[in-house]
C-alpha cells in the first residue's frame, strides 16, 4: 500500500521487495535448500578456511598479548588507547544496522526488511562479539577485567559508577543479550521448518532441539508475535543508547576532540552508517552466490543506500560542526586540535576521512548507482574504511597532542595491532560463513508474509 502511494507520488516504479512468481512453497524451498540440499561448495570451504585461519591468527596474537602485556601494541603515553578502542567502536557501530533493521523497521512496519533482517541480526551478533573482545584485551591485566562488573564480593569493592567504562559494560552486555535473544526467537519458526524438512537425522535432532518444540499452532504464533514485538520494543532504545554510551567514553573526558556534546547523535548516525555499509557488503555477494536476487532485490539495495546517504549526511554535519566549533569556540586547545587534524602528522587520514565518509558517498544521490550492486559494494567498502578512520582520528589524533606541548607524542601500530584487527575481521567472516551454511539466512516465514497470497482478504 505504502509502496503504491510512494510510487504514485514520485511517478516512477520501484523494484518490488520480492520478485513476482513466488509461492509459499517456492520461497520455503529456495531458502531452506541452501542449508539442506545444496552441496557445500569448494568456494565455501576455501572462504571459511581462510577466515578460520585469520581467527587462529587472532588467537595467536591474543596469546602473545596475555603473555607479554599491552606493550606489544603501539600504545604509549600520551596515546593510551589505540587500535583496540578504534576497533571496538568500529565493530559495535557496525552491529547497529542489524538492530535497526530488525527492531525499528519492524515497529515501523517496513516490511521490506523481512528479507535482510535475519542476516543483519547475525551480523550484529558477530560484530558485537568481535567488538566485545577489545575492551577485555585492551586492559593491562585482562585476568582482572571482571572487576568492572558489579558482582558481590568479600572485599566489598564496587566498580566506580561515575566512569563511562562501567556504563559501557552494561550497554554492551545488554546489547549482546538482547540481540542474541531477538535473533534466536526470530529463528524458531524457521528452525522448525528445517527440522521438518531435513533428511539428515543428526541435523534433524539439532534443529529439533533448537526449534524448542515449535508446531506452528495459532497459540505458538500468538506468543511468538507478542514476544518478538516486546523484544523489538526493548531493542529499539538500544540502537540509540549503546552508541551513545560508547560515545560517552570520549565525551565525558576532558581531552580536546573528545569533550564534545555532539558525540551521542553523531556516533549513533555513524554507527548506522557503517552498519548499513556492512549489510550491503555482505548482502551483495550473498544474493549473487546463492541466487537470492528474487528475495534481496534492488529495492533493498536502494533502501539501504538511502539510509546510508541520510546517516552519512548527519555524520557530515557532525564533522562540520566539530571543525566549525574548533575555530569558533575560542578554546585554544580545540583550535589546535583542528589545526593538528588538518596539518599534523595524521592529516592524510583526516582528509581521507572526509573523502571516504562525506565526498564519495554523495554519488548515492544518483539512482542508477543506488541500484548497481557493484558500485554499492565499492562505496560501502569506502564507507567502512572511512568510519574506521573516523574512530582512528577521534581516538589517536586527539590523544596524540593534547594540553602540554612537552607531552606530544606519536602512535604507530605494531604488527600485533594489525594481527588483532584483521583477526577479528576473520572471526566475523568465518562466523558469517558458518551462519549462511547452517541456518536460513533469510527469514522464510516472514518472506512468505510478503507474498500476495498472504494478504488477508476481507
Amino acid at each position: 500500500m505504502a509502496q503504491r502511494i510512494e510510487e504514485e507520488r514520485s511517478g516512477r516504479k520501484q523494484a518490488p521487495v520480492i520478485e513476482p512468481g513466488h509461492t509459499f512453497g517456492s520461497v520455503t524451498d529456495q531458502i531452506s535448500s541452501i542449508v539442506l540440499n545444496r552441496p557445500t561448495s569448494t568456494g565455501w570451504f576455501i572462504g571459511f578456511g581462510f577466515f578460520f585461519m585469520l581467527t587462529m591468527m587472532l588467537l595467536y596474537a591474543l596469546a602473545y598479548l596475555f603473555l607479554k602485556g599491552t606493550g606489544i601494541w603501539g600504545v604509549n603515553i600520551p596515546v593510551g588507547w589505540g587500535f583496540a578502542i578504534v576497533n571496538f567502536v568500529w565493530w559495535i557501530g557496525i552491529g547497529h544496522a542489524g538492530t535497526l533493521i530488525s527492531a525499528i523497521l519492524l515497529l515501523l512496519r517496513q516490511s521490506w526488511r523481512n528479507s535482510i533482517n535475519r542476516f543483519a541480526e547475525a551480523m550484529t551478533l558477530f560484530a558485537v562479539a568481535s567488538a566485545g573482545i577489545f575492551p577485555l584485551i585492551h586492559t593491562g591485566r585482562p585476568w582482572l577485567a571482571y572487576w568492572l562488573f558489579p558482582y558481590p564480593n568479600t572485599m566489598r569493592v564496587w566498580p566506580q559508577f561515575r566512569s563511562p567504562l562501567v556504563w559501557d559494560v552494561f550497554a554492551v552486555s545488554t546489547y549482546f543479550t538482547i540481540s542474541l535473544l531477538f535473533w534466536f526467537i526470530g529463528l524458531i519458526p524457521d528452525l522448525a521448518t528445517l527440522r521438518d524438512r531435513s533428511e539428515n537425522p543428526f541435523a534433524k535432532i539439532i534443529y529439533g532441539i533448537l526449534a524448542m518444540g515449535w508446531r506452528g499452532s495459532a497459540r505458538h504464533w500468538h506468543r511468538y508475535e507478542t514476544s518478538y514485538l516486546l523484544l523489538a520494543g526493548l531493542a529499539t532504545p538500544l540502537v540509540l543508547s549503546v552508541h551513545t554510551v560508547v560515545s560517552f567514553d570520549f565525551a565525558v573526558s576532558i581531552v580536546p576532540g573528545w569533550h564534545t556534546t555532539i558525540f551521542p547523535p553523531y556516533f549513533v548516525a555513524g554507527a548506522i552508517y557503517s552498519g548499513f555499509a556492512m549489510v550491503l557488503m555482505l548482502a551483495i555477494p550473498i544474493r549473487k552466490i546463492y541466487n537470492l536476487e528474487d528475495f534481496i532485490t534492488e529495492r533493498h539495495l536502494e533502501n539501504s543506500a538511502k539510509v546510508m546517504l541520510a546517516t552519512g549526511l548527519i555524520v557530515a554535519y557532525g564533522y562540520v560542526m566539530e571543525a566549525f566549533l574548533g575555530w569558533y569556540g575560542g578554546s585554544k586547545y580545540d583550535a589546535f586540535l583542528l589545526w593538528n587534524r588538518l596539518h599534523g602528522p595524521y592529516a592524510f587520514f583526516y582528509i581521507m576521512l572526509w573523502v571516504c565518509n562525506i565526498i564519495v558517498p554523495q554519488v548515492l544521490w544518483i539512482r542508477k548507482l543506488r541500484t548497481t550492486p557493484a558500485a554499492l559494494f565499492l562505496i560501502s567498502g569506502v564507507v567502512l574504511v572511512g568510519m574506521w578512520l573516523e574512530r582512528f582520528i577521534i581516538v589517536v589524533v586527539s590523544l596524540q597532542r593534547d594540553f602540554l606541548n612537552s607531552s606530544f607524542g606519536m602512535y604507530y601500530p605494531t604488527r600485533w595491532d594489525w594481527m588483532t584487527y584483521i583477526g577479528t575481521i576473520g572471526m566475523f567472516l568465518a562466523a558469517m560463513f558458518l551462519f549462511v551454511r547452517i541456518l536460513p539466512m533469510i527469514s522464510i516465514f516472514e518472506m512468505r508474509t510478503l507474498l500476495p497470497e498472504a494478504e488477508v482478504k476481507e
Binding site: 593491562g140 566512569s163 563511562p164 602540554l404 612537552s406
Partner: protein
C-alpha cells in the same frame, strides 16, 4: 634490564649423593602397570626409602629428559603421578634457616625503620657529603648531608644514581687474571716478585696511574709509596679534568689554587663558558643553592650573563646569553678585560658583540666587589688567567671570590701526565703499571694509542683496579674488583676543602678492594684493611687522647670540623697573561664535552643515568652531535641524520641533533658513550667520540670535516615539543616576565580560575582536615639540573625501560622536567618546568577509572591503588598533565637479587599492566604521621620532605601542609607569582608554580 638467569644444573642445586631412584625408573616401574593398578603401585612405590629420597630433591634427575621423546602415554602417566604426588611432597626442601629475633637488639636498630649514616662520594676528587638511608643494613637511598654547608641536604644526579651502581649486577665481582677468576691471594703472590724487583730498582719501572685524588689518606699512601720507590712515578689522568683551571692559576698566581665563589653575595655573574649550575662542576650543590637564593624577584635579584660555546642549562638560565665558538671566548674575555681594566687587550671581539661587551663591562663595573667572573673548565688557561685578573680588578676577591689551597692532592696536568706515561711505556721503561680506577684504554687521548700501548709495549705486569671489567681491565693482566664507595672506608675533600670521612654502608658485596688497600700492598703493608689505614692517618693528624671522640664525631657529622680551607690572599703575577693565540676562524670547530648523564663514561652502565634525559635535548641513551640551526639549514641536515666527523685523520660517526642556541660553525660532541665493555646497560649505547680527541686539543679543536652519510638513526627523546608555541597561539605553560613587568604587575601570572563550586560533585571540605598536602615549584629557582628526577627514581623504585621503550613513549619517570625554548632559534631563552603529579582536587583521572583504582584521600592526595588497577589507561588519557606512567610490559626486574636489596621497602614494586604516578612520596608522609601521632602532635613544617624537594639544590620545590597558614608552602602559594598549570580546566591542582621572573639588562634588552 631483566637479567637472564644463568642456567643452573640440577646438581648445582642438589649436590646430594647419587640417588638410587630417578624419574626414568619410576616411569619404567609405572610402565609395567596399567589402569587403576597404576595408582596402587604408586602408593607402594611411594613407601620405599628411595622414593622418599627422590621426592626430597628439588629437581628430579630425569628433569632434563622431559624435553624430548616422552610419549603421550608416558606423559599422561607422569601427569597422573605428579597430581597424585602433589599432596605427598608439598614443597621442595630448602636450606635450613633460623628466624630468630635479636636476643639483644642493636642500639637504635628497629626493623622497618631506616637508619641514616653520613658518608661521602668522590667524583673527580671532589667529595659530596652524603647521608645514606639504610634499611636493615642495606643502603636504599642517598641524600645530601643537610648539616654540611656544601650540601645543605642537596645532592646531584651522580650521587643519587651511585646507589644503582652499588647494586649493579654487572659490576666486577672477582679478581681476574687475563679474564679468569683468581683468588686475592694468588694476586698477592703474583705481584710479590715484581715488587721486590722494583724495590731493588727503586721503583724505576713502577708507574701508578690514578684519577684525581683529594683523599688525604690515599694521598699519604701515595706519598709514602713515592718515598719507598723514589724512581716510581705517580700519573694522574681523567678525561674530564681541570688542567686549564690549574694552568690558568699557574699563569695568574704561579701556583695551583682552588677558586671558590660566593654566589650569594654576587649581584652580577658572568660565566665564560662555565656550566656551574650542573652536576660535575665542583661545588655544584652549594652554587645552585646560593644562586637560587638570589633569584627571588622580591629581593635583590642577581643577573647572570653567559657566554658559551655549547648550550647548557646554565646558559639557558642566564638573563643574557651570547653563543660564541669556543675559540672566540678568549677573544671575548680579552676585550672585556681590557674594557674593565683587567689587562688583556691584544684582541677585540667582533663588532657584533661590542654592545654585549660594553653592557657586561658596565654592569660588572657598577657592581664592584659584588660581581663575579666564572671561567669554564674547558676554556684555555688564558681565559682563567683573565678571569682571575678581572675578579681582582673588580674587587671581587675576598667577597664573591676566594682562593684557597687546591683540593686536588696532586694538581699536575693530566694531559702531560698521561702523555709522559705513554712515552715511558713506549720507551719500555715501565715494568709494573698499576691503574687505580679509570679507563684510559677507552678515554685516553686518541693520539697516544694508549690501548695499543697497554697491549704491545711490553709492560710486564699490568694491574687494574676498577668497579667494572672495562676496556682497560681487558688489556691488563690483573683486574682487581674495586669496592664501591658505599662499601668502603675512605675520605675526601669537598670543593671548599672540608674533609668528609666515607664509611661503609654495607659489607662489600663482592669482597672488593679499595685503592688505599692496593697502594698499601705496594707499600708492603699487605693485610692492612682500609679502615685501619684511614683511621691511622687521622690518628696521626689528630694525635690527642680524644681521638675516639673526634673520630666518632667525624663519622656522625660526616665531616671533620676545622678542615675547611681558609681563604688565602693571592697576588696576581704581573704580565703573565699569554698573548692571544690565534685559532683560525675558518672551518668547523668541535667541542668535546662530558655528557650530562654518563659524565666521561664512568656511569655508562647506570640505567638511571642512561635514561635520564639530557636537560636540553631530552634525549636518553645516546649522545648526538649538537649543531646550530643555521648550520643544519646550510648543510641540509635535520635531527637524526647521521654525519661523519673527521678531525686530523680520525673519524667518528654519530647522529645530529639541531640544538637551538648552539653557536654556528661549531659542533659539540659528548664523551662517555660508545662503550665496548660497559655492561649490559651501557655497552653499545651511543657513539664513541674519544677517537677524535687528542692530547693537544682536549677541549676543542678546529678544522673539522663533517659530511652526511645519508643514513638516519633513531634518537630516544622524552619530550614531544620543546616550545610553548603552537600554530594557533602560544600556551601559557611557563609564565615569564621581566623584572620590570613583574614590578608593574606582580600578578602577571595569575588568571581567573573557574569558581570552586563549578563541579557536578559536592566539593570535599579539605579545610576541615588536619593536613592538606600541597607543593610549589619555583620556576625562577629551578636550573634544570635533573637531580629531582633521579631522586624520585631511587625513592620510588621506578623502573628503567630501555631505549626502545623510550622511543615508543613509555619512559616511567614520575617527575619530569619539561624544557621549553622561547624566541630566536639562534639564541633562545629556555625554561625548565618540573612536572610531578598535580594532585588535582578535581582530578580528571579519578572520575574515569572504572574500578576506583585512583582515588582521593581526605588530605588531598590523588592515590593510586596498584592492586585494584586493571590497566584501562583511561586515567592517563584524561590527565591533562600526562604525568601517569603505565607498565606496558614487565618493566621491573623481579629476579636480580641485587636489585631486591636496593629497593625502597616502603614503596610497592609495580607489576605489568598497572598505572603508576607520583604519590607526593606518600610513604614519607605516613612515616612522619606515625611519628607525629606517637608524640601526640602534628607533623612540623619542614620535617616532611618529598624526595624531589630534599634533593633539590635550588630549593625550588617546597612541600607541606596548606591548611597551616604559616607553613612555607602556604606562604609561597600566597605569593603573587603563584599560578596553576592549566588552571582554566578547573582541575584545581595542589602543585602550583611560581612564575619565572628574568632580570635582563635594560641596555641589552632595548
Amino acid at each position: 634490564m631483566a637479567e637472564e638467569a644463568k642456567p643452573r644444573r640440577a646438581e648445582d642445586v642438589c649436590p646430594s649423593k647419587k640417588s638410587a631412584l630417578d624419574l626414568t625408573t619410576v616411569e619404567a616401574a609405572l610402565a609395567q602397570t596399567k589402569g587403576p593398578e597404576c595408582w596402587r603401585s604408586l602408593e607402594e612405590l611411594s613407601g620405599t626409602p628411595e622414593f622418599q629420597e627422590m621426592m626430597h630433591r628439588e629437581f628430579p634427575k630425569g628433569a632434563s629428559e622431559w624435553l624430548d621423546g616422552v610419549s603421550r602415554r608416558g606423559f599422561l602417566r607422569l601427569m597422573g603421578a605428579s597430581m597424585a604426588l602433589a599432596g605427598m611432597t608439598g614443597c621442595t626442601k630448602l636450606p635450613l634457616e633460623n628466624i630468630v629475633p635479636y636476643v639483644k637488639q642493636p642500639e637504635e636498630f628497629i626493623p622497618g625503620r631506616p637508619l641514616f649514616y653520613a658518608t661521602a662520594m668522590t667524583l673527580s676528587g671532589y667529595a659530596s657529603p652524603l647521608l645514606v638511608e639504610s634499611h636493615l643494613g642495606r643502603p636504599t637511598k642517598i641524600e645530601g648531608n643537610p648539616e654540611h654547608p656544601v650540601s645543605q641536604g642537596a645532592t646531584d644526579i651522580f650521587a643519587q644514581a651511585s646507589l644503582l651502581e652499588l647494586y649493579d649486577p654487572d659490576r666486577s665481582q672477582t679478581t681476574t687474571y687475563r679474564g679468569d677468576a683468581r683468588s686475592w691471594n694468588s694476586f698477592l703472590q703474583a705481584t710479590r716478585g715484581m715488587l721486590s724487583v722494583q724495590k731493588g730498582l727503586q721503583g724505576a719501572g713502577l708507574r701508578v696511574l690514578t684519577q684525581t685524588i683529594s683523599s688525604p689518606s690515599l694521598n699519604d699512601q701515595m706519598r709514602s709509596l713515592l718515598k719507598l720507590y723514589p724512581q716510581a712515578k705517580w700519573h694522574v689522568y681523567e678525561p674530564v679534568n681541570r688542567d686549564s683551571v690549574n694552568a690558568g692559576a699557574q699563569i695568574a698566581f704561579g701556583q695551583a689554587v682552588e677558586t671558590r665563589y660566593n654566589l650569594d653575595k654576587a649581584d652580577v655573574i658572568l660565566s665564560l663558558d662555565a656550566d656551574f649550575l650542573y652536576a660535575g662542576f665542583p661545588g655544584f650543590t652549594r652554587y645552585v643553592r646560593d644562586f637560587s637564593k638570589r633569584r627571588n624577584p622580591d629581593g635583590a635579584i642577581n643577573r647572570l650573563y653567559a657566554v658559551e660555546s655549547t648550550p647548557t642549562s646554565t646558559g639557558l638560565k642566564a638573563d643574557h646569553r651570547l653563543p660564541l665558538r669556543a675559540s672566540e671566548v678568549e677573544e671575548f674575555a680579552r676585550t672585556l678585560a681590557a674594557e674593565i681594566g683587567g689587562g688583556g687587550g691584544g684582541a677585540s671581539a667582533a663588532a657584533a658583540n661590542a654592545k654585549f661587551v660594553a653592557a657586561v663591562a658596565a654592569d660588572l663595573k657598577a657592581h664592584r666587589s659584588a660581581s663575579v667572573v666564572i671561567p669554564g673548565d674547558h676554556q684555555p688557561p688564558a681565559v682563567h688567567a683573565l678571569a682571575h685578573a678581572m675578579n681582582q680588578v673588580l674587587g671581587n676577591v675576598g667577597h664573591t671570590v676566594e682562593y684557597t689551597e687546591a683540593v686536588d692532592a696532586n694538581p699536575i696536568s693530566h694531559g702531560d701526565s698521561i702523555r709522559d706515561l705513554a712515552a715511558d711505556m713506549r720507551a719500555g721503561k715501565v715494568d709494573l703499571l698499576v691503574i687505580l680506577g679509570g679507563n684510559p684504554a677507552y678515554d685516553a687521548p686518541a693520539d697516544l694509542g694508549f690501548a695499543d700501548l697497554l697491549m704491545k709495549s711490553g709492560v710486564a705486569l699490568r694491574v687494574h683496579l676498577g668497579l667494572y671489567q672495562n676496556e682497560t681491565a681487558e688489556l691488563c693482566h690483573w683486574h682487581i674488583n674495586e669496592a664501591h664507595y658505599l662499601e668502603s672506608w675512605g675520605d675526601g675533600r669537598a670543593y671548599d676543602g672540608t674533609v668528609s670521612i666515607a664509611q661503609p654502608m654495607i659489607e662489600p658485596l663482592y669482597d672488593g678492594k679499595t685503592a688505599v688497600e692496593l697502594v698499601a700492598i705496594l707499600n708492603g703493608q699487605s693485610g692492612t684493611r682500609t679502615h685501619e689505614i684511614v683511621q691511622a692517618y687521622w690518628q696521626k693528624e689528630h694525635p690527642g687522647a680524644d681521638f675516639d671522640a673526634f673520630w666518632r664525631r667525624a663519622l656522625h657529622d660526616g665531616w671533620i670540623a676545622g678542615t675547611t680551607f681558609a681563604p688565602k690572599a693571592m697576588a696576581l703575577k704581573a704580565g703573565g697573561i699569554p698573548a692571544a693565540s690565534a685559532l683560525g676562524p675558518a672551518g668547523i670547530e668541535i667541542n668535546f664535552r662530558r655528557d650530562p648523564s654518563v659524565h666521561d663514561g664512568r656511569f655508562s652502565n647506570n640505567g638511571w643515568l642512561q635514561e635520564l634525559p639530557n636537560p636540553l635535548t631530552k634525549i636518553t641513551w645516546d649522545n648526538p652531535v649538537m649543531i646550530s640551526p643555521a648550520m643544519a639549514d646550510r648543510m641540509k641536515l635535520k635531527g637524526e641524520d647521521m654525519v661523519e666527523l673527521a678531525v686530523n685523520g680520525a673519524k667518528a660517526v654519530a647522529p645530529v641533533w639541531v640544538q637551538a642556541g648552539h653557536p654556528d660553525n661549531s659542533v659539540t660532541v659528548f664523551l662517555g658513550y660508545g662503550r665496548r665493555r660497559a655492561g649490559r646497560v651501557g655497552t653499545g649505547a651511543g657513539f664513541d667520540m674519544y677517537p677524535l680527541r687528542t692530547a693537544a686539543a682536549p677541549s676543542f679543536a678546529a678544522g673539522v670535516q663533517m659530511r652526511a652519510t645519508g643514513e638516519t638513526y633513531k634518537l630516544a627523546s622524552t619530550q614531544g615539543y620543546q616550545t610553548m608555541e603552537t600554530p594557533v597561539g602560544s600556551r601559557p605553560l611557563v609564565r615569564v616576565a621581566d623584572l620590570e613587568e613583574y614590578r608593574k604587575d606582580p600578578k602577571f601570572a595569575q588568571e581567573d580560575e573557574p569558581p570552586k563550586d563549578l563541579t557536578l560533585y559536592t566539593p570535599y571540605d579539605y579545610a576541615s582536615q588536619t593536613y592538606a598536602w600541597g607543593m610549589t615549584i619555583d620556576l625562577n629557582s629551578c636550573v634544570g639540573c635533573n637531580s629531582c628526577m633521579v631522586a624520585c627514581q631511587s625513592e620510588n623504585n621506578i623502573a628503567v625501560v630501555g631505549k626502545e621503550q623510550v622511543v615508543k613513549g613509555r619512559h616511567m619517570h614520575w617527575l619530569r622536567i619539561d624544557t621549553y625554548y622561547q624566541g630566536d632559534r639562534a639564541n633562545p631563552a629556555a625554561h625548565f618546568q618540573p612536572v610531578p603529579c598535580m594532585h588535582c582536587e578535581n582530578a580528571p583521572c579519578e572520575v574515569v577509572c572504572p574500578v576506583g583504582a585512583t582515588v582521593h584521600s581526605t588530605e588531598g592526595l590523588n592515590d593510586m591503588v596498584y592492586n585494584r588497577c586493571v590497566g584501562t589507561r583511561y586515567c592517563s588519557n584524561n590527565c591533562p598533565y600526562k604525568v601517569r606512567r603505565f607498565n606496558f610490559l614487565l618493566y621491573q626486574d623481579w629476579e636480580t637479587p641485587q636489585y631486591k636489596m636496593m629497593r625502597n621497602p616502603d614503596v610497592t614494586i609495580r607489576s605489568r599492566g598497572v598505572m603508576e604516578k607520583c604519590s607526593y612520596c606518600v610513604q614519607r608522609i605516613n612515616e612522619n604521621r606515625i611519628d607525629a601521632e606517637r608524640a601526640d602532635t602534628t607533623i612540623p613544617d619542614g620535617k616532611l620532605q618529598t624526595a624531589c624537594q630534599q634533593v633539590c639544590p635550588a630549593d625550588a620545590i617546597v612541600f607541606g601542609n596548606i591548611n597551616d597558614p604559616n607553613s612555607r608552602v602556604s606562604k609561597l602559594k600566597a605569593q603573587a607569582r603563584n599560578y596553576s598549570l592549566l588552571g582554566d580546566l578547573n582541575t584545581r591542582p595542589r602543585t602550583t608554580y611560581l612564575a619565572e621572573v628574568r632580570n635582563p639588562n635594560p641596555e641589552l634588552s632595548a
